[in-house]
Amino acid sequence: MRHALVVLALVVSVTGLAGCGDDDSSAASGGSDKELPTKTIDVTFEGDDVTPNGDRVEVEVGQPIEFVVKADTEGEIHVHSDPEHEFEYGAGTTTLTPFTIDKPGIVEVESHQLEKTIVQLEVK
């Protein structure tokens, strides 16, 4: 009996706190039809190094994301969203096609050649 009461108090308190927490992004994005500004992320490849090097970048669900890549050799970037996106770039400066992510979550963006995570997109 005590056990049940304790667990119940727990459930109520946690759920209550959740209610005061962040809004559902799906509820928010459902209501807003405004144009989201394009998020531009600069990526620089130099030899075996890439900048950014595993940083986290916040973006919104449905926001166009554009990578501007400066590289010394050609390569590929893979975006591990559902579904995945693959982009090829050549040496020099390339602006990749903007894409959007339609679900909240953490999406890894990796360099295929270097096998490194460039950024983790925190999609909210």
């Binding site: 727990l10 595993g54 986290r56 579904p83 979550g105 990796e110």
Partner: protein, 449 residues
């Protein structure tokens, strides 16, 4: 509508499955930790003083169910299911394409590993019921005219669950550290070694080997201790999960099994944190080519940390003359199981549901040539929990905190059973602190990763 087959090196740092869950919000993390803390000390202060859980708990299951579950047809049906699954898995392992759309990866990393957790919670020791290795062993035994129950030797009691702990470590090493974990060859090899080891064990020690040393069976049976299904002698009974848990047989290596399960899940979380990614990709590690070394060290450290902290926490108490301090960790190991289950649910829920659905879709196309064996190839995955991150975050925190509460209650009952009267409250404090650290650590990893 053929999905693009990812090329070789792409999967280097990356497991199967696309997006990962968002970190839980700070308010929820703190709320969870505070709730865990409050409930822990409340339980300590007001809970019962005489042990409640022992073998006599439980009432007999409905007679129809008992007959059904004890019948030969039921037994054969479940084992046949296991053999069909085994045959399918062997088929895609040997003849399938080396690409991420081969269902083998989903079967191995999701259905086999995480899938058995809810199934065992609901239905009892599920892996044991379908175990293909037991069936193969029984088949060989019949062919050679011997009894599968008995092997060449008696299973040594001191060995306990250590083979299972090692097997589980081999699995999580493959999943979390090995760079080529999403290539067909390595997974096929792992499974081949697993089957070979299980068959050798079965020949040497009989069926008892599977109960003690099969990593998947031990994992599933341990999780099943939190189900309502128990045995009192040979009788099938329905019991409170807490009573069932309290009757977990204490064997050598139980602490190791629990430590591998908890430590590996924690490391899986930690691996995705910004701090770790930047470290592994940073100049120091890259220039000296130490990525693999640090991966190994990371996994080992987390597992050892859990084992050591837990062992110390249980031993830091006064004991009566009948109990040896060394036996305490094993006696309390069952109380970590709910915390493990809670954390596994929190960490792997969307993984199981979303990648699991994706695997069921891939299973209709075992050779990646566009076929549709089971009619699921054109289904779409429902991303319900990913699309509702607030709800998902609440579920995660509830799972972790509930696991903690159940663990504290289990530890309390064991403590008043074992410890002498004057140490009953103070003796629980170190273990309580350990559990709070585990839970707070788990919540922190969900927040920071």
């Amino acid at each position: 509508m053929d999905p693009v087959s990812p090329s070789w090196g792409e999967l280097f740092a990356h497991g199967i499955g696309g997006q990962k869950d968002l970190p839980i919000p700070l308010e929820l993390t703190i709320a969870g930790a505070v709730a865990a803390l409050t409930v822990s000390f409340t339980v300590l202060a007001i809970a019962w003083r005489t042990p409640r859980y022992d073998e006599t708990n439980g009432r007999p299951a409905p007679p129809r169910l008992v007959t059904l579950v004890g019948s030969r047809p039921w037994f054969y049906a479940l084992r046949t299911l296991g053999m069909l699954a085994f045959a399918y898995t062997a088929m895609v392992a040997v003849a399938g394409e080396d690409s991420l759309i081969n269902p083998l990866f989903g079967i191995f990393y999701v259905l086999l590993w995480v899938g058995f957790v809810p199934v065992s919670l609901l239905f009892g020791p599920a892996y044991k019921a379908i175990s293909p290795v037991r069936t193969i062993n029984a088949g060989f035994a019949r062919l050679t005219g011997s009894d599968p129950e008995r092997g060449v030797f008696e299973y040594p009691a001191w060995l306990g669950h250590w083979p299972a702990a090692i097997g589980l470590y081999a699995f999580v090493w493959m999943e979390l550290v090995y760079p080529f974990a999403t290539e067909l060859g390595p997974v096929r090899l792992w499974l081949a070694i697993y089957v070979a080891a299980m068959l050798v064990g079965g020949t040497l020690f009989g069926n008892r080997f599977y109960e003690m040393g099969d990593p998947f069976e031990v994992f599933s049976t341990l999780v099943a201790r939190m189900s309502i299904w128990g045995r009192r002698g040979d009788e099938l009974v329905i019991r409170s999960p807490l009573a069932n848990l309290a009757n977990t047989p204490v064997r050598p290596g139980l602490v190791a099994v629990v430590a591998v399960l908890f430590g590996s899940t924690a490391f899986d979380s930690f691996k995705d944190s910004i701090r770790w990614v930047k470290f592994i990709q940073g100049d120091y590690v890259q220039d000296h080519d130490l990525g693999l070394l640090f991966g190994n060290l990371g996994l080992l450290s987390f597992v050892l940390m859990v084992a050591v902290v837990f062992t110390v926490g249980t031993m830091l108490t006064g004991v009566g003359p009948e109990m040896r301090r060394r036996d305490l960790p094993g006696q309390f190991a069952h109380s970590i199981v709910p915390i493990v289950i809670g954390y596994v649910i929190a960490h792997y829920l969307t993984y199981l549901l979303e990648v699991g659905q994706q695997t069921i879709i891939y299973m209709s196309d075992p050779f990646s040539n566009g076929s549709n064996w089971f009619g699921t190839a054109n289904w779409t995955v429902s991303y319900y929990f990913s699309l509702h991150p607030s709800l998902l975050a609440v579920i995660k925190v509830l799972a972790v905190v509930t696991g903690h509460v159940v663990g504290v209650i289990a530890a309390h009952d064991r403590a008043i059973q074992l410890l002498p009267k004057k140490h009953q409250l103070t003796g629980q404090l170190p273990l309580l602190v350990v559990m709070i650290c585990f839970t707070a650590g788990g919540l922190y990893l969900l927040f920071a990763a």
